[in-house]
Symmetry: C2
Subunit: 116 residues, 2 copies
């Protein structure tokens, strides 16, 4: 059994094409003995976003803080706000965007361990 | 892509030996096309707890609200409070307890889909 506090985990800047103002914390993963899937926090700063992309694994998400959008495969913005859950199935194009210019948006993004 | 609000999912009372005052919501699971793992919310009412038990699958947790404890395999109470993450590995004895007599404790409890 292991309990991990957010202040204990370093925020790493995500450097990837199509990313703006995003930091990542691996809260629970292989390092903690997670055998199948991992919990990360993504913090998206004001006006920031993840890439508009696809990949072969799913995301399961929980919006921790702030207001955001999930851009779906058709390019539509869907409100994704503090307290909401979401799933992006494998191979579906998606993007997470902060809806605010100034405030942070943060979410849990869970993935299978091969993609943590 | 699917977004699910907490108010949209029915709270089911958990009826199992060793449980007191616990409700469960399946927020994201097989029903939503989750291929590998599921997110549930467990709400533990004042003085409530889950069973002190073991099983062959892991829990990955996020404390959404309130103050709780995780009782570990040695019987020790470990503080598990709003904003904290945790992992219970497979086959490790554990129990989640609400630390308050009156206020709710709520957490995300993720499991592989066979055990959702």
């Amino acid at each position: 059994m292991k309990i991990v506090k957010q202040s204990e985990v370093v925020k790493q800047t995500v450097e990837m094409e199509g990313v703006k103002g995003v930091q990542r914390q691996l809260m629970i993963g292989s390092k903690d003995g997670a055998p199948n899937f991992s919990f990360r926090i993504f913090t998206i700063h004001g006006n920031g976003h993840t890439p508009y992309h696809t990949h072969e694994f799913e995301h399961v998400n929980y919006a921790l803080k702030g207001k955001g959008y999930i851009v779906d495969a058709d390019g539509n913005e869907n409100e994704f706000n503090e307290g909401d859950f979401a799933i992006i199935p494998p191979n579906e194009k998606h993007q997470f965007r902060n809806a605010s210019k100034f405030k942070k948006f943060a979410m849990i993004c869970a993935v299978t361990k091969d993609y943590e």
